[in-house]
Structure formats: C-alpha cells, structure tokens
C-alpha cells in the first residue's frame, strides 16, 4: 500500500476523534471561525466572508450534564448534546454561532445558545418553510441580511464575486463527496459505512479548500483499493437526520450488514445537492438550501391526487438511492422529540412498503447507552430480511 495514501485514513481518524483540531489551529493563526448547526446554513456565505465555517457536532459518549441546567430536556437530544459539549468548551475556538430555522428545537433555543455561550457574534437565519415564489424572494432577502451582518463582523463586504467563488469551491466539494459514494456500489462495498461517515463528517470541520484536498486523497486511496474491508452482507440504507457519530453505523455493520447508502444530514441530504452557477449567486444559494435540500422541515405541496403520488414526490430520492445502491433494507432512524421526522414516520414507511422495501423504524436517544436495545432490533431486522 502506498505509504502516503495509507496516512490519509489515519489523518481522517485523527480529525474525527479530535474533532475541531484544525479549526483550533487556524484560529490560533488568526482565522475567524464561525460555528454552525445543521445543513441549512449556507456555508458559502461564511467562506465568502473570509471566515471558516465549522459544523458543530454532538458526542454520544458524553452524558448531558451542563446542558440540562439551562435547557429543557424535552428537545431534540442531538441538539442538547451539541449544546452540552459547546458549554463544556469543546468548541471554544469559535468566534460566532449561526443557527437556521430548521426546527423548533433550534429556533426556540437560539436565545439560550446565544446567552449561554456569549460569543462575539451570532445570527439566526430565518429559513422559510414553504416553496412559493414569495418564500424564495423572502429567503434571498433574509440571506442578504445575513450577508450584511456577517460582513460587518468579519469587516469585509461580501461581493457577488466572493459568493460565486465560494459556490464553485463547495460544488467541487460536493462532487468529490458524491464520487466517494461510487465505492459503495460494489458488493461488498469497497468502503464501509462507518469509514465513509468519518470522512464526510471530518470534511465538515475543515476549510473547504482543505476538505477538497482531503477528499482527493481519499479518492486516490480508494481507487487503489483492491480488497473490500467488509464481506457480503445485507445492504442497508439509513434514513434520518443528523447521525454524526459512527457508533450507530458501526453497530449495524457489526450486526452483519453493510451500510451502503444514506439519506442523512451528514450524507446525501447535505452533500449531494449542487448550487446552480451562471446567475445571481444569492438566488442560486436560496434555491439550493430551500428546495434542493430534501428535508422534512420544508413543506412540499402535494403532488398528484393520491397519497401514493405525493409520497413518491416527497420520498422518491430514497427510492432512487435504493435502486442505485442495490439496497436490501432501510433503517429509519429518528431521534425522540423530533417533529419534522416524527410526523413523517407513517408516510415514509408507507412509501417504502409501496416499493417493497423492508424498513426498520427506530426511535432513539442520542447516547451510546441504548446500544444494547438497538442491537437486538437491528439483528432481528437483518434476520428478517436475510431469509
């Protein structure tokens, strides 16, 4: 094995375990780091401002303690974990915090985050929920408010040209990420689900140029891979929100399956949609983040007359992924207290039934404490689809 390439996965491992390492280094060198939650934040704008976007992650191994003194427990456990580790100083290299209107758990805790962390800069992006022409226009104006606000803080006026350049870099990033998925198509896949998740997660913690370099090196490494790291086993797609710790993915793979596809916020939902080039950059960004990203929090008007037609329009991308990656079963993984996904569980299940795709629905906390319970359910599901 090429020694240089052998190091890239070691590098990935390091950045995954010591998440935020690079951001801290850059901060020490004078870079402004802007932390954010969720795939709905236009990182292009942050990059165009000359700042480094850094995606906040939770930690399933860290019991939530400090966070609970200032925030109710009846909220998304992922968000609570992010809040808890942030309070504990894990991301204290951050200069700013951006939270989008993704869901109630985020929108309703913005003040709490702001005051508890006391960062020099914060901003809430009021992403609309509907896809009308008026919504799109509103969103563009809202993004321009963000642009001005961030520009003031970064002391840099963000030009359309700056945005265009950033868009190009991120489109490149997403192309490379998508290319990584090609290695999942083989049976067994040439890259395991846990491995790829680490790579994609790490990608969100680096400046986009470094992320692009990292993906390039990983692609090179994988291209040279002759042997799959896993054996043939049922091929699983995970559908859910932010699964930013690999423990769950590893559990599925250790139980005798290969995770070959996903519809996750650290996976295809975030990395696959591209931004249009050639026109007004802010308009293109608004379009990507509101329409191209397929997240349940965005209301999509009913397509067709029947439920079936509507389901196809809302969840068809899962069906396409299932075909493209020859998926045997879907695990629908929803956090407790998650409204956007929670309300869609019956509809998603009905859609998967209609395409004869077996589905296991799991409702979970955000902690490794539930591994034992999950293991039995996952194994039972694999036994069911294996026969």
């Amino acid at each position: 094995m090429n020694e240089k390439n052998g190091n890239i996965l070691t590098k990935v491992e390091r950045y995954y375990q010591e998440y935020g390492l690079r951001a801290r280094e850059l901060k020490d060198q004078g870079q402004k780091v802007i932390a954010y939650l969720c795939s709905l934040v236009p990182v292009e704008i942050i990059t165009a401002a000359g700042c480094m976007p850094f995606r906040i992650r939770g930690d399933v191994h860290e019991p939530i303690t400090k966070g609970d003194t200032n925030l109710e427990t009846i909220a998304c456990p992922f968000m609570r974990s992010c809040f808890d580790v942030s309070l504990k100083g894990r991301y204290d290299f951050s200069d700013g915090l951006i939270i989008p209107h993704a869901c109630d758990s985020m929108a309703r805790t913005y003040s709490t985050w702001r005051y508890s962390l006391g960062l020099p800069y914060s901003h809430f992006i009021n992403v609309p929920h509907t896809l009308s022409a008026s919504s799109m226009e509103f969103f563009i104006a809202e993004l321009n408010t963000f642009r001005k606000s961030l520009g003031r803080f970064a002391e840099k006026e963000i030009s359309d040209d700056d945005l265009t350049k950033a868009i190009d870099l991120y489109n490149e990033n997403r192309n490379k990420a998508k290319a990584l998925y090609e290695f999942r198509k083989q049976d067994p896949p040439l890259v395991s689900g846990a491995e790829l998740a680490k790579i994609l997660i790490v990608g969100m913690s680096l400046p986009v140029t470094e992320s692009n370099e990292l993906f390039d090196e990983v692609l090179q490494e994988l291209t040279q891979r002759k042997e799959a790291p896993c054996t043939k086993a049922p091929r699983i797609l995970i559908d859910g929100a932010c699964v930013d710790n690999i423990d769950f993915i590893k559990l599925i793979e250790d139980s005798g399956a290969n995770v070959v596809a996903d519809s996750l916020c650290i996976g295809t939902r975030d990395y696959w949609p591209q931004t249009d080039i050639g026109g007004n950059p802010m308009k293109a960004l608004a379009h990507r983040y509101l329409d191209r990203i397929n997240c349940p929090r965005t209301y999509r008007e009913k397509a067709g007359d029947t439920f079936q037609e509507d389901a196809e329009s809302r969840f068809g991308d899962i069906g396409s992924l299932s075909k493209e990656f020859k998926v045997d079963g879907v695990i629908l993984y929803v956090y407790k207290y998650c409204d956007p996904f929670g309300f869609e569980v019956p509809a998603r299940k009905a859609y998967l039934d209609s395409i004869k795709m077996p589905v296991l629905y799991l409702e979970d906390e955000y902690s490794t404490g539930t591994i034992g319970r999950l293991r039995t359910r996952i194994q039972a599901f694999l036994e069911m689809i294996g026969s």
Binding site: I74, S111, P128, E137, G342, F343
Partner: protein, 465 residues
C-alpha cells in the same frame, strides 16, 4: 363504602367571572356548529388558532375547525388517551405534540369508520373540505400535522401559509428587515385568499374584510384595556379564567360577537373592582403565569392556588394582543396589509424595549413589565413535555430574569456578621406535565410543589426590608 362502588368525584372548576363561565357552552356550541354547518353544505377548514386569517375566513364564510381546541376539549374531558393510543398504533411517536396525536388518532378513526368514533366528545370533529397549515407560525406541528393527516384524507387539499417574524438580534433593528417581512406576509395572505376563492368559488369582498379587520383592531384595544383592569388590588380575574376568555380572541376575531364579549367582560371587571371583589377574599400573593400552555385536564390547579390566597392577575400565555396604537401600523386602506403589520407588530412589540436593558430579551422584558405593572410576587412556568414551541427556553428566561432583575430589597448577612441591604430576584416555580396527556401528571406531586412555593413566597414576604 367500598371503593368499587364509589364514583369518581372530581371537584368542579370554579371561575371568577361570568364571562369565563360562559365559554364552556360557547365552545361546545362552536364544535356542534361545525357539524351543523357541514350538514348545511358550508365549507369547513381545519386551522390553528392565532393564525392571523380569522377575519379572512369569516368574510369568505368558511367555517374554521380549530383542531387544537378539539384536542384540548378531549384533554379537559380526560378522554384523549384512546385517540393518543390510536395515533401511536399508526406509528407516531408519543413525544410529538399531543394535540396533533389526538387529532391524528381521531381523524384516522373517523375515516376508517366513515362516521364519528363512538362517544366522540361533544359530537366529534367534523371532516374538513380543506386544511390550512402554517409554515413558520410558531411551531413545526403546524407545518407537519395536516400533511400527516392528508395520508388518510388524500382528497382534502392543504394550503400552507408562511407567516414569519424575525428573531431578536443584537446587531439588527426591526426597521432593517420589516420591509421584506411585510412584503412576504402580505403575499402569503394574498395567496391564501386566492386558494380560498378557488375552494369556495366565491370572490373575496375586500370592503367587508376591511370592516372585519377594523373591528378586529378595535377589539384588540378593547381586550388590552380589559386585561389591564386586572392590575387592580385585589385582582378581579385570574389566569384560570383567562384560559377560557381567550376563546373569542382566537376563535372569532373581527366579529361583533367577539367585541361584545370583551365589552361585557370589561364591564364585569369594572363592577367587581368597584365592589373590591377579588378572585379570592384574602389576596396574599400575586403571581405571573410566565410561560407554558396549561394542563387542560388540570385547570382546577388554579383553584388550588386560590385556596392558598394566591392569584394570577396576569399571564403571557394566550395574551395574543397588544394595543393597536402602539404597533405602528402605517396608513393603508388595504386590509391584507393591515393584517400583515398587525402580525409583525405584535411579534416584535417588545424588541425595542429589550434593546434598552442590558442582557434583556423580548420575552424577559415582557415578564419584567408585567411584574412591575401588576405588582407581582412570584413567577410560575409550566413545562408541557410534548410542546417544544412554547416550552423551550422557559428555564433560560427564568435564569435571565434572575440575572438582570432583582427588585426585592432584603438584608443579606455578610461574612463578617454584618447585615447589608441587597436585592434579590422573585421566587419562581416550574410545574411539569403536559397539555393533553394525563399520564404525565401527578396531582400529588404538583400540589406538593405548589405548597412549597407558597411557603417560599411567605418567607420572601417576611424577609422583605
């Protein structure tokens, strides 16, 4: 008497005002009315309270079915469990909004049977002709609930109205963003009108709408003036009543019936004040209900507070109005624009004030204003587990309030044994259960907490310098 023969005797809830007492029958009539209206061939719309388009629906002769309210009724009658379980059996998590779970369970059952579920409370919830969702207004369930219901009612169309308001930011003034917010809200409302015209085959009568919006604005002022009467000592009306009297405000805004209701309440309160008749004879503690929807099945808890001499002259919950003359609504003849400004003005009402006090936030600023205006001794919050919208941030609000607002003069014992004058924050209490799901509620536990809180209030009073 053997336990098994004893019937469950629940204490009847007492209200301080006749106006509040009239609400039960009013709601029952309203629900029955929707069923009759359906039989008469009128168009029914599932919708949410505090939606901004009450007047629009009235003018278009569309009968609203307030789905949250129906769930509340089931909860208050302690008959929500079977609908919650049904929703669970369909795959919905119990951690979701229990209004929605109740509604979804009810609707799917009604659709399956082709008629109302057996013994449906107050006749049941009528099948709608359309469902009006709300993107951005207040909460995720308003965006997802009806879409989930559409799985069982695919022939019922949905219109999702986006009605945003900006959050409070340090570096942004409301004036900086209001133009594009108002533009968007106005266009969304126009889109709604177009949708409703299509559904009904009728055109909107904008003159009539102007009349309703006009009356709505006057009603806002009337409600504000009326509620402000509760500043009196002793207070003539408490939050327990207000949980009833909010109904016309959120069911029939813009109608003469609504205006008349608050006019009558106004008179009733003035009479009581003249006679120095308070909610309780011996008013000991004045409390602010600082946040959280009430437990609809446990409104008698307010009577329990009363029995200890504690009253609630003011609450933030369901006080969905501010005086119109302070909302800076520009001169315009377009009723849709007036609605948009009313909405935007209401949600940003406390922003400018909050900017003037270091560390303050609009919600906290509002608490401070009420504490001062209504001479409040303590703050109570309620955490309902299934509602993230109104119950996230209450702990933070109390913490922030404690940090920036310490109005009670006390003597503090220093290290050297010397007593110095200091200021302390108001005592506060957080109750926990849910809006509908009674299994989350422990009467014993709740009453214990209330008792302990009363003792704290008593101590604070004693130690006041």
């Amino acid at each position: 008497m053997a336990e098994e023969e004893k019937k469950e005797v629940r204490k009847k809830r007492r209200t301080a005002t006749k106006a509040a007492a009239s609400i039960g029958p009013m709601v029952k009539e309203s629900i029955g009315g929707t069923i009759r209206a359906k039989q008469e061939g009128k168009k029914l719309a599932y919708t949410f309270i505090v939606c901004l388009y009450d007047e629009i629906l009235s003018v278009m002769d569309i009968v609203p079915v307030w789905t949250e309210n129906y769930a509340g009724v089931c909860g208050a009658k302690r008959d929500a469990e079977r609908f919650l379980e049904r929703a669970e059996s369909l795959g919905f998590s119990r951690s979701l909004c229990t209004y929605a779970l109740c509604g979804l369970g009810f609707d799917q059952w009604r659709e399956k049977l082709g008629e109302m579920p057996p013994d449906a409370p107050w006749g049941g919830q009528a099948r709608p002709d359309m469902m009006l969702s709300s993107g951005q207004i207040l909460c995720d369930p308003r965006n997802k609930w009806y879409q989930a219901a559409q799985q069982f009612m695919p022939d019922v169309p949905i219109y999702d109205v986006g009605l945003p308001y900006p959050l409070y930011e340090d570096d942004i003034e409301v004036a900086d963003v209001q133009d594009y917010y108002i533009k968007h809200i106005t266009e969304e409302l126009r889109g709604l009108v177009t949708f409703l015209e299509k559904q009904t085959g009728k055109k909107m009568d904008y003159d009539r709408l102007s009349e309703f919006v006009d009356l709505g604005e006057r009603t806002w002022n009337m409600i504000w003036e009326t509620y402000e009467l509760r500043r009196a000592v002793p207070t003539p009306m408490g939050t327990g009543d207000a949980m009833n009297t909010m109904v016309p405000m959120v069911f029939m805004m813009g109608t003469q019936q609504c205006y008349d209701f608050y006019l009558a309440l106004n008179k009733e309160l003035q009479d009581k004040i003249a006679r120095k008749e308070g909610v309780v004879e011996d008013e000991k503690y004045r409390l602010l209900w600082g946040g959280g929807l009430p437990s609809w099945f446990a409104l008698t808890d307010f009577n329990y507070f009363n029995s200890k001499g504690a009253v609630f002259p003011v609450e933030t919950t369901y006080r969905m109005i501010e005086p119109i003359y302070r909302l800076n609504i520009p001169d315009t003849n377009d009723p849709i624009e007036r609605l948009a400004w009313r909405w935007f003005g209401y949600w940003t009402y406390w922003y400018d004030k909050a900017k003037k006090r270091p560390g303050s936030e609009p919600d906290v600023e509002r608490l401070i204003q009420y504490i001062e205006d209504y001479q409040i001794d303590g703050v109570v919050m309620h955490e309902a587990f299934s509602c993230r919208t109104w119950h996230l941030g209450l702990i933070w609000q109390l913490n922030q309030l404690k940090k920036i607002y310490r109005p009670i003069p006390v003597l503090i014992l220093g290290k050297d044994g010397e007593k110095t004058k200091g200021k302390r924050e108001l005592p506060s209490l957080i109750l926990e259960s849910d809006i509908i799901d009674i299994s989350s509620y422990s009467e014993v536990d709740t009453r214990n907490r209330i008792d302990a809180f009363i003792e704290t209030l008593e101590q604070t009073k004693k130690n006041k310098v």
